[in-house]
Subunit: 211 residues, 4 copies
DNA sequence: TATGAATGAGTTTTCATTCAT
DNA sequence: TATGAATGAAAACTCATTCAT
């Protein structure tokens, strides 16, 4: 079989599994359910994935990349369009765009369920390929306003983790706060983190005290 | 059998399961493993828990309460000891105590794995009993410095979610940052959230803009 | 405990089990269900019954006796009231009374479910005690019109088996025929058996041909 | 796998279960016993049957059909071979053949245990397929001698129920009568039912009195 | 490549019965 | 007598994975 066709089939299985994982959970979904829904035979599944874990790994990777790529692309687009003076306006706009994206793709969250950082953890994702390029460009924007590389990475990591954790709960359960209720506070809190870190950066406090 | 003894036995089973869940994961732990480790017969387990799900539910609830209680107790203790002027110093100290607590009880996190908010979600936990009392007292401290009830709740919710998410990853994988690396940034970020919200509160901006 | 009280308690357990057996079936009813419904402790059950089989045996015996006693009593009453000429009228009336009884006590059938003959099998039932007396008196009525003891027993056995089998189905499922639909045919068929046997008896054919 | 092979395998499992049910009873036979005896893996069983109940249902249906088919076939064969005058001779011969069949296949009875009427209850059995054809042909023979459709069905139903109930007990326990002891009386009783009903039919009594 | 029947280890769950109090 | 916690053998059922076709 041609390489392209193989990749297409793999994607199809991943998308099918993704739908099922969303409605029944990962351990609530049997390989049998996946192959039936995908319209393939049980054995065929094992031609494309080593085992169930392999499917999960590849699914998380695939969906995380989709999400990250979209977010980073819009961040870079915004940042490139402005000068340094409006940098935090762009950050805020990027955050808002990211939150819009999450609300549009709430189902992504339902499956990844706080797993985005898991993928970020796998070192290669943020360094290799298209995503690596986008990420490096965004970091460069932060450096342009005074952040060191590490400071930028940590700050972004903290904010994404908070947003991810809070939105997963809000989207899934609307409790204790709904998306509408918590969103303004979340944006403010995120901006507070960015600007306070920036203040420290400019005052030189960060270097002396912590790093 | 006396009611107290029954509760003791239930606790013993929960603690045993907790140890096993930590080392082998929930789905990697069979009821059989739990009963063997607890030194009871298989049937006895079903005398205390309807089924495996029931055990997990009760375990998460039990461990979450333990954690929350300790944290809220230390928060209240610190806050009561100071006047309003040093309020944010106390908040920072409380945060540091909470992080100490998490590091000391890293295993709690490994099982709860970001489930603390799940428990907070079940409304009754933060309103009923001993924990409810502690929580209301802490909120009152925030109100004393100008927060409304809702602002205080949202801010605490945001910070706890961020800390929880970040520390779970840091403790579990030490990637992309270890606990030592990320802790200062995490405390700063948390304080930035508290103080920025306070500033808005005092400037009246919060009411006008968002709430 | 006084002997009478013991017997009362045993009866209470049997009646409770009987209700449960009716709604859930015998193997669908756990001893636990019985003791809970009877309001006694699990261990207490085993003071009154050797094991579950013992309960079933005693229950079937007890309920069968109740049924048999009522039927035989009405048969004897009817037969004693008439002379030999109207004997088959009395038999028919007795049959009708028996069918009335079954319809009134349909629940008895639902549990005994074709087990009446099982009890009749246990020799002692039809020979000992009050029931034995009643049964022997009924047989004597048949002998008075020419049946031998064996002929009478066989004929009664056949008719009761047929009625029991047919009514169990009819009462339980009303299919393929309901009680109302099948009752006239059942009475006619039963009478045909009695009268045809009687004809053979009088013609002497039975002895020569078959016995 | 070819559809035929699947059916063959299912039949093999049913036959194996049937042997075990006969010797140990249904609830005394575990699925494990069945699969071991059938030489298949435990999981394979669940490929062919939803659960244990499904096996029992299908087994009873399968065995009932076998029995019914043989009986109806011999009934039709006999009836077709004679003219109307000897009709009741043929009925008697058919009854005798049926009793022979039951004695030869006593094990069928031991499992079906009065379940034949259960199958007859499921309307489709006596109307669909090969069995439906046979049954309709037999009914037509009865109609040829004056029975209405309903009268024929009711009479056959009564007789089969009686024979089934009586023979099950006689074969299983030989009490209160053995097969040899009760057989002549049973045939006479059955014939009495057929002929008395026929007499009513011809005299028109049935219509007026009961139907 | 694709199939799907077969596998069997592994898990959960039930329940009659015992026994210390 | 009465209790009910404890038992553990036995049973039902699941499902990831293999392999002959």
């Amino acid at each position: 079989m041609e390489e392209n066709k193989k990749i297409e089939k793999k994607k199809k299985i991943i998308e099918t599994a993704y739908q099922l994982f969303r409605s029944a959970g990962i351990s609530g979904t049997a390989i049998d359910d996946v192959v039936k829904a995908a319209g393939i035979a049980r054995g065929t599944f094992y031609l494309y994935f080593k085992d169930k874990s392999d499917l999960i790994d590849q699914l998380v990777m695939y969906k995380s990349m989709e999400t990250l790529k979209e977010m980073l692309a819009s961040a870079r687009a915004g940042m490139l369009a402005v000068g340094g003076g409006d940098f935090f306006d762009v950050v805020r706009q990027t955050l808002e765009m990211y939150l819009d994206f999450l609300e549009r793709h709430r189902d992504v969250l339902l499956v990844l369920h706080k797993n985005i950082s898991v993928s970020m953890r796998s070192a290669s994702i943020l360094t290799d390929g298209e995503i690596g390029d986008l990420y490096r460009e965004v970091l460069r924007q932060f450096e342009a306003v005074g952040f060191t590389d590490v400071q930028a990475e940590q700050t972004i990591f903290l904010v994404i983790n908070m947003i991810d954790a809070v939105y997963t709960d809000a989207l899934l359960y609307a409790r204790p706060f709904s998306v509408q209720e918590i969103r303004p506070a979340l944006v403010d809190a995120s901006m507070a983190i960015f600007t306070s870190r920036a203040a420290l950066v400019q005052g030189g406090a960060l270097d002396a005290d912590h790093v």
